[in-house]
């Protein structure tokens, strides 16, 4: 446990996600598994939300596929540190491809919230912003205060991407909010709302 971060963070994950989504405009959102689903669903069950309630490690690449298909729309990935770590190679792929309209927001509580708050690697020294920068992300941020979050909002929603931010939050889960769970429903509702031209 030698590398464990001692800093206590004060931001509350749900407030952070709600603040980000308040400015979403017509952005599409892809969540990662776990608390991110509840955080996003509790803001507003928007048809342009794709809740990934499974496929740990897949959120970034699902969002990347949407981003390529919808180049004129902002795509936000809102996910947790555990989920991102499970697909960390995705950062290398996105870093190579440089999609301008993709923002990845990691709500980092340094813990696996869904399984009992066991430590993830981010609480033990692994620096996701550093990994993103080393993978070719030129727009990155580490957010630990409300002021930093406010300052960063325009870049989250508008910086030429790929954009990557880690928001350090309290390792405390908020209430579960039931997002629609049926994959066929959520995916078709999302596609109808997001895809300008069906095939």
């Amino acid at each position: 446990m030698g590398l464990q971060t001692k800093t206590k963070f004060t931001l509350q994950r749900r407030k952070v996600v709600h603040r980000i989504l308040k400015e979403r405009g017509d952005a599409a959102v892809v969540t990662g598994i776990g608390n991110a689903v509840h955080d996003v669903a509790s803001a507003n069950d928007d048809p342009k939300n794709m809740y990934l309630a499974g496929v740990m490690g897949g959120a970034t690449m699902v969002a990347f596929g949407v981003a390529l298909a919808q180049p004129n729309r902002r795509i936000l990935t809102i996910t947790g540190d555990g989920e991102l770590l499970a697909g960390v190679g995705s950062l290398a792929t996105v870093g190579v491809e440089q999609p301008k309209n993709l923002s990845i927001i990691v709500i980092d509580n340094q813990a696996y919230g869904a399984t009992g708050n066991q430590h993830t690697h981010t609480g033990r020294g692994v620096d996701l912003v550093g990994i993103a920068e080393a993978s070719g992300f030129k727009q990155t941020a580490l957010i630990t205060t409300n002021k930093e979050l406010e300052n960063e909002l325009p870049r989250i929603h508008g910086a030429p991407g790929p954009y990557f931010a880690v928001v350090k939050v309290l390792s405390k889960s908020s209430a579960r909010i039931d997002a629609p769970k049926d994959g066929t429903f959520v995916s078709r509702r999302f596609r109808d709302a997001v895809a300008v031209e069906g095939i």
Binding site: V62, L68, V194
Partner: protein, 176 residues
């Protein structure tokens, strides 16, 4: 489809043309010898975006995202990469998102490298366990029509379909 056996013909040319015809816009792949010609043709084609992955499961997620955003994608992988895809395929099944995959086999027809055999022999059972419909093809001339059939079932019937290309074809150089 007409059999072609002239020396310059390779199944990849017809499959690439088919991709164009059916509107494939995203080609997700991990480099592979058996699919190398097809990958080169796709890379050179500016009407589609070819994306190199660090691991094949990224491609399952990407082509799911492509469909969610209104485009068609295809995943190109060697059999060894199928094992990396299993959990990600649960999204395809749960959401009934179309998946078109092309899998080139190792560890199958006349394999001489023992480390390829375990995953090669597990490839089709693993795909089928993940509810991916498998079209196995062992003659180069039959690859284009098989991909055409797989694409129809994938995109028109919203199913996951993998065209598994026998090692017998890549051993022959992929020509007719």
């Amino acid at each position: 489809m007409v059999k072609r056996k002239n020396k310059s013909w390779h199944w990849s040319q017809d499959v690439h043309q088919l991709f164009k015809k059916i509107g494939i816009k995203q080609v997700a792949y991990v480099p592979d010898g058996g699919l190398a010609k097809l990958i080169e043709l796709c890379q050179a084609d500016r009407s589609m975006r070819s994306v190199v992955l660090t691991t094949e499961e990224e491609g399952v997620a990407q082509v799911a995202g492509a469909w969610l955003g209104g485009q068609r994608g295809v995943l190109l992988t060697q059999s060894g990469g199928v094992g990396n895809c299993i959990n990600m395929l649960s999204m395809i099944q749960e959401c009934r998102i179309p998946l078109l995959a092309m899998v080139s086999m190792r560890g199958e027809w006349g394999e001489t490298f023992p480390w390829q055999v375990p995953m090669g022999q597990s490839t089709i059972p693993a795909l089928e366990a993940a509810k991916v419909i498998v079209h196995h093809v062992d003659l180069a001339e039959k690859v284009p029509e098989t991909v055409n059939a797989a694409a129809k079932m994938a995109f028109d019937s919203n199913r996951a379909v993998a065209v598994v290309i026998s090692q017998r074809i890549s051993e022959s150089g992929g020509k007719g």
